[in-house]
Symmetry: C2
Subunit: 341 residues, 2 copies
């Protein structure tokens, strides 16, 4: 059973998931073997593949190719499943308690997998635009369902691509974790955006959009609704953000037209990263307001894409200081100039 514990200094909540624990010696062994087992799984054995629906557990949602398809059978575009090794689980009540000076609570939450395609060897940048749209709609549909759970404060939608980014299965998928607390970085962003708003009476992200459109040199791609750019103060080389051009605090308010344009820019940016950098591992995270959270005027939802190119990690984790070897202007030019035909 997982639990959440709070750092009394930084006030960060950490999820402890002992079901995922290993014997001490297995950490190093797994590293040496580079956790090849799952990643090299043949498509015939993969529970996410079309035809293997019975082995993956019951679907929470599926977009059917054929009307009237039976649940957990072939003939789908996107399928949503419960994570078999969840970081958080749907328990009855939230129980908070103090342990001396420390605070903890039980690990109430949801942890789902969004299988993005029935085909084992396709990734987002291989999909058609209309297939990527369906992935985005699945994010939103599950968001809408999970936000009804009154115990939840945040729904985190993210993707780990490649084993260096933490993916343990090769078949293209995203994840969704609903949590009873707001992630620290989201809180910091909201607080920073509020501070800027109090000072300037404008949304800092809207100002970023204006500045990027004027400067042009960090832009990777743009369309009617979105811009993608290498972030001015990104922590990682080629860290790329996708922002709606029009102010919008909540991802779930996205329109049909915006979903179409987001699918285009997301697929294209991932294709540029793959082409320019030799198919690196990456993570992306959707940043949006907490459920029923304040900040409609000054927060602005967006996607942060972080290719996993450098190994320097623990030092940054320890200090909060990041060293980025690539100037964003140069990285943006390389991504812009990458052929994605």
């Amino acid at each position: 059973m997982s639990e959440l514990r709070k750092d009394p200094v930084s006030k960060r909540w950490v999820i402890f998931a002992p079901e995922r624990s290993k014997r001490p010696s297995d950490y190093r062994k797994d590293k040496d073997e580079e956790v090849k087992v799952d990643l090299e799984e043949e498509s015939g054995k993969c529970p996410f593949c079309e035809g293997k629906e019975k082995t993956s557990g019951d679907e929470l949602l599926a977009y059917e190719k054929i009307p009237g398809r039976k649940p957990n059978s072939p003939g789908w575009w996107v399928r949503v499943l419960e994570n078999k090794y969840p970081a958080l689980q749907d328990e009855s009540e939230i129980g908070k308690k103090g342990v001396g000076i420390y605070d903890k609570m039980n690990g109430v939450g949801h942890h789902e997998i969004i299988v993005e395609t029935p085909k084992h060897h396709k990734c987002i940048s291989d999909l058609e635009y209309n297939e990527v749209e369906k992935v985005i709609w699945a994010y939103r549909d599950r968001y809408m369902t999970l936000q009804e759970d009154a115990r939840m404060k945040y729904v985190l939608i993210f993707k780990n691509y490649g084993k260096d980014a933490g993916a343990s299965l090769e078949h293209s998928h995203s994840q969704l974790i609903a949590t009873p607390v707001v992630p620290k970085r989201v809180e910091e962003e909201i607080s920073g955006a509020r501070h800027y708003y109090e000072f300037r009476d404008r949304c800092v992200f809207c100002d970023i959009v204006t500045q990027e459109l004027a400067d042009k040199e960090r832009i990777v791609e743009e369309n009617d609704n979105f811009i993608a750019f290498v972030f001015f103060a990104g922590r990682f080389p080629y860290e790329t953000w996708i922002l709606p051009k029009k102010h919008s605090s909540n991802f779930e308010n996205i329109t049909k037209k915006e979903v179409m344009n987001l699918a285009v820019i997301l697929k294209n940016v991932l294709k540029r990263i793959k082409g320019a950098l030799g198919d690196p591992a990456y993570n992306f995270v959707i940043h949006t307001l907490p459920i029923n959270g304040e900040g409609q005027h000054y927060y602005h939802w967006h996607i942060e894409i972080m290719p996993k190119l450098t190994k320097v990690a623990g030092f940054e984790w320890g200090s909060g200081f990041y060293i980025n070897p690539e100037l964003p202007e140069k990285a943006a030019k390389i991504l812009r100039d990458t052929n994605i035909e």
Copy 2:
């Protein structure tokens, strides 16, 4: 020439060091080849080895084995060098400027290497206690020198051990980066500690010491001056903190007696980690107050040791949410029970 840029939302400064830039295709290539080149360097070619002093650049400090030894020659315990690929450099003046809504400054600072032993194949846990003491004194001596530079706000002392922790040379060494800004995580800690102090009129770290000594179950080792324990809300499996038992905000105020006891506990904890977990990569970072910083009453210097066991990284970077598979009580017992004779 490196530069610092500020994230207008989170207010984090990031160091951009384009001298460390690579061609886009080289990131992936280096990953595939696991950057073996430097790490497998023979001791005969290593610039940090005894006898190779001329190849490493002029030493900034050395503790001599023989009085009257000539600089940059054999016969030393610990040597401090300038980093050949510095993240920050000693330039003349700090130049801050705005670029539209963004802020940046030039990359003024210092970046030094502390070679911990003349022997190529020794790591801290192989050294004698009195040799580890000399490493700690070198940290402090360089700290005392660098804090005199009025442009500097913080001196970050840290160690990357093993390539997964970002080490690019095998020969045992630590690093020291003096920066014109305070690292974000340090600022957060100070602010969190101040908040706790305003509320309870006590240092949160002193309360942690009291609680850990009472609970006992997370303690790895203790002596007259220090306790080492697996942190209650650690972000990483086996994340171990070393705290002075007596309140002290500034590392540089350490006494001779404390240096002796810190050497013992640091070496022993690293030896336990090595023994229990199969010699994993790790980072450690000394957290102390900024130069001339406020917080003497409520901040408490300490060392955070983070073994690099899990790969889940980008998601955590993106969200600030951490999933730790190991309960600290279990990890502490494993480290405690590891034989270090």
